[in-house]
Symmetry: C2
Subunit: 183 residues, 2 copies
């Protein structure tokens, strides 16, 4: 009977990531609920996006925790992180693009935390000699978001099997497309 807030947010993210101009009515229908109900849970479009942002940050931090990115070789940590990020991928896909140009009250400080942890991971990899040093941690971080996003979109579109999500992203991010002699 009662609406599952999380499920509504996921549906909203899935829709909005590919049609950012979607109406509140469309969001409600995509989530399988009435517009009035959607409005009872989220005061307006802003509130909805905020909730999406909050949930995304929470899930992303949970993924960072679950992947234990401080432990072991950095490349293994990245691999675990990609796998752990899959559930949050559609969410990230929406929020990475919808920057809203950080107008108004400034963006959620959670983003800065995520960035910091991710950058730290890549930096650690560089210091340990696992990652190359000619690609800046900031760019690797950005590329990570971008590939997660692309992966989520490719899976949602049926171009990549959901089971291949982690492998495709982690392999490309870590090893690249070029065939190397050491493999």
């Amino acid at each position: 009977m009662s609406v599952d807030r999380t499920q509504v947010l996921r549906a909203a993210a899935a829709l909005l990531s590919r049609k950012a101009t979607a109406t509140m009515d469309e969001v409600a229908r995509a989530a399988g609920i009435g517009r009035a109900t959607l409005h009872r849970h989220f005061a307006g479009r802003d509130a909805l996006v905020r909730a999406l942002e909050q949930m995304c940050i929470e899930e992303a931090e949970a993924a960072l925790d679950a992947a234990r990115i401080e432990e072991g070789p950095a490349d293994e940590a990245v691999r675990r992180l990609v796998t752990a990020s899959q559930p949050a991928a559609p969410l990230l896909s929406f929020l990475v693009t919808e920057n809203q140009l950080f107008e108004g009250d400034g963006q959620n400080e959670g983003w800065a935390r995520l960035d910091a942890r991710l950058v730290a991971l890549f930096r650690r990899g560089q210091e340990e000699g696992t990652f190359r040093i000619d690609l800046s941690p900031a760019w690797l971080c950005e590329a990570f978001y971008g590939l997660i996003s692309s992966g989520a979109w490719a899976v949602a579109d049926g171009r990549v099997a959901a089971n291949d999500f982690s492998y495709m992203i982690a392999e490309l991010l870590l090893g690249g497309a070029r065939r190397s002699v050491e493999k």
Copy 2:
């Protein structure tokens, strides 16, 4: 005196890629013209997006041509393509996300052409032994779009220098983040 259509479209892409819900008025201001003038050139939001799509496809095909992707080693071709794609990057960044869920009249067939050419490039690389075969051409294609997008965004945001655009993208796409023995 006369408005530069191309410049307006670029400004629109730059804005819309980060705030897809931007108003026609905001677009006009971002382009430095009046709302009435914007309306004289593009009948409405739909027409604007269509024009954006058209221009993007044209520039992307021009980039494919300029990079002569059929010639030489596939990895070199990819490198040339990334460089040639830089001008169209903000445009791509917007259109890759704004899929509009291909409702209505179906998407521009130009996208299919682009995809086909790009996929052919990656497939050629695999057949020649330059690219690994465990990453599907479709995924490499998707990742290419995603990284171009991320790169455009990172540059626009000042996180990556414009001069590093090509290098960062091509190196990550081809070689990955991991440090390999052969380099």
